[in-house]
Amino acid sequence: MSPVQRTTTLMKGNEALAEAALRSDMDAYFGYPITPQSEILEYLIIHGPKRGSVVLQAESEVAAINMVYGAAGAGARVMISSSSPGISLMQEGLSYIASAQIPCLVVNVQRGGPGLGTIQPAQGDYFQATKGGGHGDYRLIVLAPSSVQEMADFVPEGFRLAEKYRNPVMILSDGALGQMMESVQLPEQGSLPKSIPAWATRGKPENRERNIITSLFIDPERMEQVNIELQKKYAAVQSEARAELDRTKDAEIVLVAFGLAARICQKVVDIARERGKSVGLFRPITLYPFPTDILSRTADHAEHFLVVEMNAGQMVEDVRLAVNGRRSVDFTGRMGGIIPTPEEILQKIESLTVSTTDQALQGMP
Protein backbone atom coordinates (compact mmCIF):
# COMPACT_ATOMS: atom_id res chain seq x y z
CA MET A 1 0.00 0.00 0.00
CA SER A 2 1.34 3.39 -0.86
CA PRO A 3 1.42 5.78 2.08
CA VAL A 4 -1.72 7.84 2.26
CA GLN A 5 -1.22 11.58 2.59
CA ARG A 6 -2.35 12.90 5.95
CA THR A 7 -4.97 15.46 5.16
CA THR A 8 -6.72 17.86 7.43
CA THR A 9 -10.41 17.30 8.02
CA LEU A 10 -13.00 18.93 10.20
CA MET A 11 -14.45 16.30 12.47
CA LYS A 12 -16.20 15.70 15.74
CA GLY A 13 -13.92 14.32 18.41
CA ASN A 14 -15.93 11.12 18.66
CA GLU A 15 -15.77 10.57 14.93
CA ALA A 16 -12.09 11.40 14.69
CA LEU A 17 -11.45 8.82 17.36
CA ALA A 18 -13.53 6.23 15.54
CA GLU A 19 -11.84 6.90 12.21
CA ALA A 20 -8.43 6.76 13.88
CA ALA A 21 -9.34 3.35 15.27
CA LEU A 22 -10.13 2.04 11.80
CA ARG A 23 -6.87 3.47 10.49
CA SER A 24 -5.09 1.76 13.36
CA ASP A 25 -6.36 -1.57 12.03
CA MET A 26 -8.62 -2.18 14.98
CA ASP A 27 -10.03 -5.72 14.66
CA ALA A 28 -13.10 -5.31 16.78
CA TYR A 29 -15.18 -2.81 18.66
CA PHE A 30 -17.90 -3.54 21.19
CA GLY A 31 -20.14 -0.89 22.63
CA TYR A 32 -23.48 0.18 23.93
CA PRO A 33 -25.15 3.52 23.22
CA ILE A 34 -24.76 6.29 25.73
CA THR A 35 -24.63 10.04 25.34
CA PRO A 36 -22.27 11.81 24.67
CA GLN A 37 -20.34 9.14 22.79
CA SER A 38 -22.87 7.19 20.73
CA GLU A 39 -21.34 8.65 17.56
CA ILE A 40 -18.39 6.32 18.00
CA LEU A 41 -20.53 3.22 17.65
CA GLU A 42 -22.64 4.89 14.97
CA TYR A 43 -19.61 5.86 12.93
CA LEU A 44 -17.98 2.49 13.28
CA ILE A 45 -21.05 0.51 12.35
CA ILE A 46 -21.18 2.38 9.06
CA HIS A 47 -17.49 2.28 8.25
CA GLY A 48 -16.07 -0.61 10.28
CA PRO A 49 -17.40 -3.82 8.78
CA LYS A 50 -16.57 -2.90 5.20
CA ARG A 51 -13.05 -2.10 6.30
CA GLY A 52 -12.64 -5.44 8.02
CA SER A 53 -13.49 -4.55 11.57
CA VAL A 54 -16.01 -6.37 13.72
CA VAL A 55 -18.46 -3.86 15.20
CA LEU A 56 -21.05 -5.12 17.62
CA GLN A 57 -23.65 -3.35 19.71
CA ALA A 58 -23.78 -5.41 22.87
CA GLU A 59 -26.81 -5.83 25.12
CA SER A 60 -25.09 -3.90 27.92
CA GLU A 61 -21.79 -2.42 28.97
CA VAL A 62 -21.16 -5.46 31.15
CA ALA A 63 -21.51 -7.76 28.16
CA ALA A 64 -19.47 -5.40 25.99
CA ILE A 65 -16.42 -5.30 28.27
CA ASN A 66 -16.48 -9.08 28.54
CA MET A 67 -16.65 -9.36 24.75
CA VAL A 68 -13.54 -7.22 24.74
CA TYR A 69 -11.93 -9.65 27.16
CA GLY A 70 -12.74 -12.54 24.85
CA ALA A 71 -11.75 -10.93 21.58
CA ALA A 72 -8.59 -9.27 22.89
CA GLY A 73 -7.70 -12.49 24.71
CA ALA A 74 -7.89 -14.15 21.32
CA GLY A 75 -5.24 -11.73 20.11
CA ALA A 76 -7.37 -9.13 18.38
CA ARG A 77 -6.86 -5.36 18.57
CA VAL A 78 -10.00 -4.25 20.36
CA MET A 79 -11.58 -0.99 21.45
CA ILE A 80 -14.60 -0.19 23.59
CA SER A 81 -16.15 3.13 24.46
CA SER A 82 -18.76 4.46 26.84
CA SER A 83 -19.47 7.34 29.16
CA SER A 84 -19.32 7.57 32.94
CA PRO A 85 -22.20 5.33 34.16
CA GLY A 86 -21.37 2.76 31.50
CA ILE A 87 -17.73 2.77 32.52
CA SER A 88 -18.75 2.13 36.13
CA LEU A 89 -20.49 -1.02 34.99
CA MET A 90 -17.23 -2.22 33.46
CA GLN A 91 -15.20 -2.08 36.64
CA GLU A 92 -15.28 -5.79 37.34
CA GLY A 93 -14.41 -6.53 33.74
CA LEU A 94 -11.54 -4.03 33.74
CA SER A 95 -10.10 -5.57 36.88
CA TYR A 96 -10.22 -8.97 35.16
CA ILE A 97 -8.65 -7.61 31.98
CA ALA A 98 -5.85 -5.92 33.90
CA SER A 99 -5.24 -9.03 35.96
CA ALA A 100 -5.21 -11.32 32.94
CA GLN A 101 -2.96 -8.77 31.21
CA ILE A 102 -5.05 -8.33 28.12
CA PRO A 103 -4.24 -5.30 25.97
CA CYS A 104 -7.20 -3.20 24.85
CA LEU A 105 -8.32 0.38 24.48
CA VAL A 106 -11.12 1.78 26.61
CA VAL A 107 -12.61 5.19 25.90
CA ASN A 108 -14.50 7.15 28.53
CA VAL A 109 -16.22 10.24 27.13
CA GLN A 110 -17.07 11.61 30.54
CA ARG A 111 -20.29 13.33 31.56
CA GLY A 112 -21.37 14.96 34.78
CA GLY A 113 -22.04 12.69 37.73
CA PRO A 114 -22.44 11.09 40.12
CA GLY A 115 -25.40 8.85 39.34
CA LEU A 116 -27.30 9.36 36.14
CA GLY A 117 -26.22 12.97 36.43
CA THR A 118 -26.22 15.03 33.31
CA ILE A 119 -24.93 14.57 29.79
CA GLN A 120 -22.76 17.67 29.92
CA PRO A 121 -18.96 17.33 29.91
CA ALA A 122 -17.11 16.70 33.17
CA GLN A 123 -13.95 15.21 34.59
CA GLY A 124 -15.36 13.47 37.62
CA ASP A 125 -13.97 10.06 36.73
CA TYR A 126 -10.29 10.88 37.28
CA PHE A 127 -10.02 8.77 40.42
CA GLN A 128 -11.89 5.89 38.84
CA ALA A 129 -9.58 5.96 35.85
CA THR A 130 -6.27 6.47 37.59
CA LYS A 131 -6.59 4.70 40.93
CA GLY A 132 -8.58 1.74 39.70
CA GLY A 133 -12.34 1.77 40.14
CA GLY A 134 -12.39 -1.99 40.25
CA HIS A 135 -11.07 -4.23 42.99
CA GLY A 136 -7.46 -5.09 43.60
CA ASP A 137 -4.16 -3.50 42.73
CA TYR A 138 -4.22 -2.73 39.05
CA ARG A 139 -3.79 0.32 36.92
CA LEU A 140 -4.97 1.49 33.57
CA ILE A 141 -2.62 3.57 31.48
CA VAL A 142 -4.65 6.76 31.11
CA LEU A 143 -4.30 9.28 28.30
CA ALA A 144 -6.09 12.61 28.49
CA PRO A 145 -6.68 14.27 25.12
CA SER A 146 -7.43 17.96 25.04
CA SER A 147 -8.29 18.44 21.38
CA VAL A 148 -9.93 16.60 18.53
CA GLN A 149 -6.44 16.06 17.17
CA GLU A 150 -5.48 14.18 20.31
CA MET A 151 -8.75 12.24 20.24
CA ALA A 152 -7.36 10.81 17.01
CA ASP A 153 -3.68 10.65 17.95
CA PHE A 154 -4.19 8.81 21.20
CA VAL A 155 -5.91 5.88 19.51
CA PRO A 156 -2.85 4.39 17.78
CA GLU A 157 -0.76 5.54 20.73
CA GLY A 158 -3.19 3.84 23.11
CA PHE A 159 -3.11 0.60 21.15
CA ARG A 160 0.67 0.75 21.03
CA LEU A 161 1.00 1.20 24.79
CA ALA A 162 -1.63 -1.45 25.47
CA GLU A 163 0.18 -3.99 23.34
CA LYS A 164 3.61 -3.05 24.57
CA TYR A 165 2.64 -3.49 28.21
CA ARG A 166 -0.19 -6.01 27.84
CA ASN A 167 -2.36 -3.63 29.80
CA PRO A 168 -5.67 -1.90 29.22
CA VAL A 169 -5.28 1.73 28.19
CA MET A 170 -7.96 4.32 28.79
CA ILE A 171 -8.55 7.48 26.82
CA LEU A 172 -10.19 9.76 29.37
CA SER A 173 -12.06 12.32 27.35
CA ASP A 174 -15.26 14.26 27.96
CA GLY A 175 -18.49 15.15 26.24
CA ALA A 176 -17.22 18.47 24.94
CA LEU A 177 -14.17 16.95 23.27
CA GLY A 178 -16.37 14.19 21.90
CA GLN A 179 -18.98 16.53 20.47
CA MET A 180 -16.92 19.45 19.26
CA MET A 181 -15.47 19.75 15.77
CA GLU A 182 -11.97 20.85 15.02
CA SER A 183 -9.66 20.18 12.17
CA VAL A 184 -7.64 17.06 12.56
CA GLN A 185 -4.90 15.18 10.79
CA LEU A 186 -5.82 11.52 10.90
CA PRO A 187 -3.24 8.77 11.30
CA GLU A 188 -2.27 6.86 8.20
CA GLN A 189 -3.93 3.56 7.56
CA GLY A 190 -1.65 0.70 8.51
CA SER A 191 0.90 2.83 10.30
CA LEU A 192 0.58 0.82 13.48
CA PRO A 193 2.26 -2.60 13.16
CA LYS A 194 0.28 -5.61 14.24
CA SER A 195 1.17 -9.18 15.08
CA ILE A 196 -0.56 -12.06 16.72
CA PRO A 197 0.61 -12.39 20.31
CA ALA A 198 2.01 -15.75 21.38
CA TRP A 199 -0.21 -15.89 24.43
CA ALA A 200 -3.49 -15.51 22.53
CA THR A 201 -6.11 -18.25 22.70
CA ARG A 202 -6.65 -19.17 19.08
CA GLY A 203 -6.53 -22.94 19.22
CA LYS A 204 -3.68 -25.03 20.58
CA PRO A 205 -1.42 -26.47 17.89
CA GLU A 206 0.37 -29.70 18.75
CA ASN A 207 3.71 -28.01 19.21
CA ARG A 208 2.81 -25.70 22.05
CA GLU A 209 1.21 -25.89 25.44
CA ARG A 210 -2.33 -24.64 25.62
CA ASN A 211 -2.75 -20.92 26.18
CA ILE A 212 -4.82 -19.80 29.11
CA ILE A 213 -6.27 -16.38 29.79
CA THR A 214 -7.18 -16.16 33.44
CA SER A 215 -7.16 -13.89 36.43
CA LEU A 216 -7.71 -16.69 38.92
CA PHE A 217 -4.74 -17.58 41.09
CA ILE A 218 -6.27 -19.30 44.02
CA ASP A 219 -2.92 -19.98 45.64
CA PRO A 220 -2.01 -16.72 47.36
CA GLU A 221 1.72 -17.20 46.69
CA ARG A 222 1.00 -17.44 42.99
CA MET A 223 -1.44 -14.53 43.21
CA GLU A 224 1.21 -12.44 44.87
CA GLN A 225 3.67 -13.31 42.13
CA VAL A 226 1.15 -12.11 39.57
CA ASN A 227 0.75 -8.92 41.56
CA ILE A 228 4.49 -8.41 41.74
CA GLU A 229 4.65 -8.86 37.98
CA LEU A 230 1.93 -6.24 37.60
CA GLN A 231 3.70 -3.83 39.93
CA LYS A 232 6.96 -4.26 38.00
CA LYS A 233 5.09 -3.46 34.85
CA TYR A 234 3.60 -0.33 36.41
CA ALA A 235 7.06 0.72 37.53
CA ALA A 236 8.26 0.32 33.94
CA VAL A 237 5.25 2.26 32.68
CA GLN A 238 6.41 5.30 34.67
CA SER A 239 8.83 6.05 31.85
CA GLU A 240 5.87 6.81 29.61
CA ALA A 241 4.78 9.80 31.70
CA ARG A 242 4.10 12.83 29.53
CA ALA A 243 3.06 16.41 30.07
CA GLU A 244 2.85 19.57 28.03
CA LEU A 245 4.42 22.64 29.57
CA ASP A 246 3.32 26.04 28.42
CA ARG A 247 5.27 29.06 29.66
CA THR A 248 6.03 27.42 32.99
CA LYS A 249 9.74 28.28 32.96
CA ASP A 250 9.33 31.76 34.35
CA ALA A 251 5.91 31.27 35.85
CA GLU A 252 5.23 32.28 39.40
CA ILE A 253 1.88 30.57 39.27
CA VAL A 254 1.50 27.30 37.42
CA LEU A 255 -1.94 26.12 36.47
CA VAL A 256 -2.30 22.35 36.36
CA ALA A 257 -5.13 21.01 34.23
CA PHE A 258 -5.86 18.18 31.84
CA GLY A 259 -8.17 17.67 28.91
CA LEU A 260 -10.77 20.31 28.21
CA ALA A 261 -9.91 22.22 31.38
CA ALA A 262 -6.40 22.67 30.05
CA ARG A 263 -7.81 24.34 26.95
CA ILE A 264 -9.61 26.85 29.13
CA CYS A 265 -6.47 27.37 31.16
CA GLN A 266 -4.50 28.08 28.02
CA LYS A 267 -6.75 31.02 27.45
CA VAL A 268 -6.27 32.03 31.05
CA VAL A 269 -2.51 32.04 30.58
CA ASP A 270 -2.90 34.16 27.45
CA ILE A 271 -4.98 36.74 29.27
CA ALA A 272 -2.88 36.67 32.41
CA ARG A 273 0.29 37.19 30.43
CA GLU A 274 -1.34 40.12 28.64
CA ARG A 275 -2.04 41.53 32.05
CA GLY A 276 1.58 41.07 32.99
CA LYS A 277 1.16 38.15 35.33
CA SER A 278 3.67 35.32 35.04
CA VAL A 279 1.32 32.39 34.80
CA GLY A 280 2.06 29.07 33.06
CA LEU A 281 0.25 25.85 32.37
CA PHE A 282 1.25 22.31 33.20
CA ARG A 283 -0.90 19.81 31.30
CA PRO A 284 -0.52 16.14 32.22
CA ILE A 285 -1.06 14.10 29.08
CA THR A 286 -0.71 10.77 30.84
CA LEU A 287 -2.83 10.75 33.97
CA TYR A 288 -1.43 7.36 34.82
CA PRO A 289 1.50 7.32 34.96
CA PHE A 290 1.12 10.77 36.46
CA PRO A 291 4.05 12.99 35.36
CA THR A 292 5.22 13.32 38.94
CA ASP A 293 8.89 13.93 38.18
CA ILE A 294 8.26 16.55 35.53
CA LEU A 295 5.88 18.37 37.81
CA SER A 296 8.25 18.07 40.71
CA ARG A 297 10.93 19.80 38.63
CA THR A 298 8.49 22.59 37.87
CA ALA A 299 8.11 23.05 41.60
CA ASP A 300 11.79 23.94 41.76
CA HIS A 301 10.99 27.43 40.53
CA ALA A 302 7.21 28.02 40.54
CA GLU A 303 5.75 29.56 43.68
CA HIS A 304 2.14 28.40 43.56
CA PHE A 305 0.22 25.67 41.86
CA LEU A 306 -3.41 26.08 41.00
CA VAL A 307 -5.12 22.90 39.89
CA VAL A 308 -8.17 23.42 37.70
CA GLU A 309 -10.51 20.51 37.14
CA MET A 310 -14.06 19.95 36.07
CA ASN A 311 -14.73 18.06 39.29
CA ALA A 312 -14.51 18.54 43.04
CA GLY A 313 -10.75 18.10 43.14
CA GLN A 314 -9.28 14.78 42.20
CA MET A 315 -6.04 15.21 40.25
CA VAL A 316 -5.09 17.78 42.87
CA GLU A 317 -4.14 14.86 45.12
CA ASP A 318 -1.59 13.64 42.62
CA VAL A 319 -0.29 17.17 42.25
CA ARG A 320 0.08 17.46 46.02
CA LEU A 321 1.85 14.11 46.13
CA ALA A 322 4.27 15.32 43.47
CA VAL A 323 4.89 18.69 45.07
CA ASN A 324 5.13 16.99 48.47
CA GLY A 325 4.65 20.05 50.60
CA ARG A 326 7.33 22.16 48.90
CA ARG A 327 4.88 24.66 47.39
CA SER A 328 1.33 25.71 47.98
CA VAL A 329 -1.18 23.80 45.90
CA ASP A 330 -4.65 25.26 45.47
CA PHE A 331 -7.66 23.98 43.68
CA THR A 332 -10.54 25.44 41.77
CA GLY A 333 -13.13 23.56 39.84
CA ARG A 334 -16.65 23.32 38.58
CA MET A 335 -18.83 20.27 38.79
CA GLY A 336 -21.78 18.55 37.28
CA GLY A 337 -21.13 19.40 33.68
CA ILE A 338 -20.26 23.04 34.12
CA ILE A 339 -17.16 24.24 32.33
CA PRO A 340 -15.19 26.85 34.27
CA THR A 341 -14.75 30.16 32.48
CA PRO A 342 -11.39 31.84 32.03
CA GLU A 343 -12.75 34.75 34.05
CA GLU A 344 -13.38 32.76 37.19
CA ILE A 345 -9.98 31.13 37.00
CA LEU A 346 -8.38 34.52 36.63
CA GLN A 347 -10.24 35.67 39.71
CA LYS A 348 -8.97 32.67 41.62
CA ILE A 349 -5.47 33.56 40.53
CA GLU A 350 -5.99 37.08 41.85
CA SER A 351 -7.17 35.78 45.19
CA LEU A 352 -4.15 33.51 45.37
CA THR A 353 -1.66 36.30 44.85
CA VAL A 354 -3.52 38.51 47.25
CA SER A 355 -3.59 35.83 49.87
CA THR A 356 0.16 35.39 49.74
CA THR A 357 1.50 38.87 49.15
CA ASP A 358 -1.01 40.70 51.27
CA GLN A 359 -1.62 37.94 53.73
CA ALA A 360 -1.14 40.25 56.66
CA LEU A 361 -3.99 42.41 55.50
CA GLN A 362 -6.38 39.55 55.19
CA GLY A 363 -8.96 38.93 57.81
CA MET A 364 -8.90 42.57 58.93
CA PRO A 365 -12.26 44.11 59.66
Partner: protein, 191 residues
Amino acid sequence: MFVTHELIIAGFGGQGALSMGQILAYAATIEGREVSWMPSYGPEMRGGTANCIVIVAEKRISSPIVTMFDSAIVLNQPSLDKFLPRVKTGGLVLVEESTVKVPPGSPALEVVRIAAVHEADILGARQVANTVMLGAFLAKRPLVQVESVVKALEKVLPPHRRHLLDMNRRALERGAELAGHSEKLTAGSTA
Protein backbone atom coordinates in the same frame (compact mmCIF):
# COMPACT_ATOMS: atom_id res chain seq x y z
CA MET B 1 -4.26 39.97 10.24
CA PHE B 2 -7.39 37.88 10.64
CA VAL B 3 -9.11 38.67 13.91
CA THR B 4 -10.52 35.78 15.92
CA HIS B 5 -14.31 35.71 15.75
CA GLU B 6 -16.51 34.06 18.34
CA LEU B 7 -20.06 33.39 17.23
CA ILE B 8 -23.10 31.75 18.77
CA ILE B 9 -25.93 30.31 16.68
CA ALA B 10 -29.03 29.36 18.62
CA GLY B 11 -32.57 28.15 18.01
CA PHE B 12 -35.01 25.33 18.62
CA GLY B 13 -33.75 21.83 17.96
CA GLY B 14 -34.56 21.00 14.37
CA GLN B 15 -34.23 24.58 13.12
CA GLY B 16 -30.75 23.82 11.89
CA ALA B 17 -28.66 26.05 14.11
CA LEU B 18 -26.08 23.32 14.51
CA SER B 19 -25.71 22.54 10.84
CA MET B 20 -25.47 26.23 9.98
CA GLY B 21 -22.52 26.41 12.34
CA GLN B 22 -20.98 23.32 10.80
CA ILE B 23 -21.21 24.74 7.30
CA LEU B 24 -19.48 27.89 8.43
CA ALA B 25 -16.83 25.82 10.19
CA TYR B 26 -16.22 23.72 7.10
CA ALA B 27 -15.94 26.80 4.95
CA ALA B 28 -13.39 28.33 7.28
CA THR B 29 -11.42 25.09 7.34
CA ILE B 30 -11.34 25.14 3.56
CA GLU B 31 -9.81 28.59 3.79
CA GLY B 32 -7.12 27.24 6.09
CA ARG B 33 -8.38 28.83 9.28
CA GLU B 34 -8.34 27.27 12.68
CA VAL B 35 -11.90 26.46 13.62
CA SER B 36 -13.79 25.03 16.51
CA TRP B 37 -17.45 24.14 16.56
CA MET B 38 -18.94 23.32 19.92
CA PRO B 39 -22.55 22.27 20.27
CA SER B 40 -24.55 22.30 23.44
CA TYR B 41 -26.71 19.23 23.50
CA GLY B 42 -29.84 18.55 25.51
CA PRO B 43 -31.79 15.48 26.45
CA GLU B 44 -34.62 16.00 24.00
CA MET B 45 -34.54 14.64 20.52
CA ARG B 46 -36.77 17.38 19.24
CA GLY B 47 -37.81 20.63 20.79
CA GLY B 48 -35.66 22.22 23.42
CA THR B 49 -32.98 24.67 22.46
CA ALA B 50 -29.93 23.82 20.46
CA ASN B 51 -26.96 26.06 19.97
CA CYS B 52 -23.37 25.99 18.91
CA ILE B 53 -20.34 28.18 19.35
CA VAL B 54 -18.19 28.66 16.28
CA ILE B 55 -14.75 30.17 16.63
CA VAL B 56 -12.75 31.11 13.58
CA ALA B 57 -9.16 32.12 14.13
CA GLU B 58 -5.78 32.23 12.53
CA LYS B 59 -3.88 30.39 15.24
CA ARG B 60 -4.54 27.46 17.54
CA ILE B 61 -7.73 28.07 19.46
CA SER B 62 -7.36 27.73 23.19
CA SER B 63 -10.77 27.47 24.79
CA PRO B 64 -13.51 26.28 22.44
CA ILE B 65 -16.03 27.61 24.93
CA VAL B 66 -16.53 31.30 25.53
CA THR B 67 -19.13 33.22 27.45
CA MET B 68 -19.16 36.51 25.52
CA PHE B 69 -19.65 36.53 21.78
CA ASP B 70 -18.68 38.77 18.88
CA SER B 71 -21.92 37.87 17.11
CA ALA B 72 -25.07 35.90 17.61
CA ILE B 73 -27.44 34.35 15.08
CA VAL B 74 -30.72 33.82 16.84
CA LEU B 75 -33.57 31.67 15.57
CA ASN B 76 -35.99 31.66 18.51
CA GLN B 77 -37.17 33.79 21.37
CA PRO B 78 -35.73 31.88 24.36
CA SER B 79 -32.33 31.99 22.72
CA LEU B 80 -32.54 35.73 22.27
CA ASP B 81 -33.36 36.16 25.92
CA LYS B 82 -30.46 33.95 26.85
CA PHE B 83 -27.76 35.26 24.54
CA LEU B 84 -28.51 38.93 23.97
CA PRO B 85 -26.78 39.91 27.23
CA ARG B 86 -23.77 37.86 26.18
CA VAL B 87 -22.92 39.67 22.98
CA LYS B 88 -19.98 41.99 23.35
CA THR B 89 -20.58 45.72 23.04
CA GLY B 90 -20.69 46.66 19.42
CA GLY B 91 -21.36 43.07 18.47
CA LEU B 92 -23.76 41.79 15.83
CA VAL B 93 -27.10 40.13 16.52
CA LEU B 94 -28.88 38.56 13.60
CA VAL B 95 -32.45 37.47 14.25
CA GLU B 96 -35.00 35.60 12.19
CA GLU B 97 -37.74 38.11 11.85
CA SER B 98 -40.84 35.96 11.95
CA THR B 99 -39.94 33.98 15.07
CA VAL B 100 -38.00 36.43 17.23
CA LYS B 101 -39.04 39.73 18.65
CA VAL B 102 -36.23 41.95 19.84
CA PRO B 103 -37.23 43.60 23.10
CA PRO B 104 -36.61 47.25 23.68
CA GLY B 105 -33.97 48.43 26.07
CA SER B 106 -31.12 46.07 25.16
CA PRO B 107 -27.57 47.43 25.12
CA ALA B 108 -26.16 49.05 22.07
CA LEU B 109 -25.60 46.27 19.59
CA GLU B 110 -26.05 46.00 15.89
CA VAL B 111 -29.29 44.07 15.58
CA VAL B 112 -30.31 42.91 12.13
CA ARG B 113 -33.63 41.26 11.42
CA ILE B 114 -33.83 38.93 8.45
CA ALA B 115 -37.06 37.48 7.10
CA ALA B 116 -35.28 34.26 6.38
CA VAL B 117 -38.27 31.94 6.61
CA HIS B 118 -40.25 34.13 4.30
CA GLU B 119 -37.40 34.32 1.79
CA ALA B 120 -36.86 30.59 1.95
CA ASP B 121 -40.50 30.02 1.19
CA ILE B 122 -40.14 32.25 -1.84
CA LEU B 123 -37.02 30.35 -2.89
CA GLY B 124 -39.07 27.18 -2.64
CA ALA B 125 -37.75 25.26 0.36
CA ARG B 126 -38.08 26.24 3.94
CA GLN B 127 -34.90 24.31 4.82
CA VAL B 128 -32.77 26.98 3.23
CA ALA B 129 -33.90 29.61 5.74
CA ASN B 130 -30.64 28.89 7.54
CA THR B 131 -28.64 29.54 4.46
CA VAL B 132 -30.36 32.87 4.06
CA MET B 133 -29.32 33.73 7.61
CA LEU B 134 -25.77 32.62 6.94
CA GLY B 135 -25.62 34.72 3.77
CA ALA B 136 -26.79 37.71 5.74
CA PHE B 137 -24.25 37.05 8.46
CA LEU B 138 -21.37 36.78 6.02
CA ALA B 139 -22.39 40.02 4.40
CA LYS B 140 -21.99 41.65 7.77
CA ARG B 141 -18.98 39.68 8.94
CA PRO B 142 -17.11 38.30 5.97
CA LEU B 143 -15.27 35.58 7.88
CA VAL B 144 -15.22 33.37 4.81
CA GLN B 145 -16.01 33.77 1.17
CA VAL B 146 -19.36 32.68 -0.15
CA GLU B 147 -17.56 30.33 -2.54
CA SER B 148 -16.11 28.45 0.41
CA VAL B 149 -19.55 28.03 1.86
CA VAL B 150 -20.75 26.56 -1.40
CA LYS B 151 -17.78 24.19 -1.42
CA ALA B 152 -18.58 23.23 2.15
CA LEU B 153 -22.18 22.56 1.20
CA GLU B 154 -20.98 20.37 -1.68
CA LYS B 155 -18.99 18.34 0.78
CA VAL B 156 -21.62 18.12 3.43
CA LEU B 157 -24.90 17.66 1.59
CA PRO B 158 -25.80 14.00 1.19
CA PRO B 159 -25.94 12.87 -2.50
CA HIS B 160 -29.74 12.94 -2.63
CA ARG B 161 -29.71 16.60 -1.56
CA ARG B 162 -27.12 17.81 -4.05
CA HIS B 163 -29.83 19.30 -6.20
CA LEU B 164 -30.39 21.85 -3.45
CA LEU B 165 -26.94 23.30 -4.05
CA ASP B 166 -28.12 25.92 -6.44
CA MET B 167 -30.97 26.94 -4.25
CA ASN B 168 -28.54 27.30 -1.36
CA ARG B 169 -26.28 29.49 -3.42
CA ARG B 170 -29.23 31.72 -4.20
CA ALA B 171 -30.21 31.71 -0.55
CA LEU B 172 -26.75 32.89 0.43
CA GLU B 173 -26.93 35.69 -2.06
CA ARG B 174 -30.42 36.65 -1.05
CA GLY B 175 -29.34 36.73 2.59
CA ALA B 176 -26.49 39.03 1.73
CA GLU B 177 -28.87 41.33 -0.11
CA LEU B 178 -31.29 41.43 2.77
CA ALA B 179 -28.52 42.21 5.20
CA GLY B 180 -27.43 45.05 3.00
CA HIS B 181 -30.92 46.51 2.74
CA SER B 182 -32.01 45.57 6.17
CA GLU B 183 -33.21 48.18 8.46
CA LYS B 184 -30.44 48.41 11.00
CA LEU B 185 -31.68 48.64 14.51
CA THR B 186 -29.91 49.01 17.68
CA ALA B 187 -31.74 46.88 20.11
CA GLY B 188 -33.88 49.31 21.93
CA SER B 189 -35.56 50.82 18.94
CA THR B 190 -39.01 49.43 18.44
CA ALA B 191 -38.75 46.04 16.81
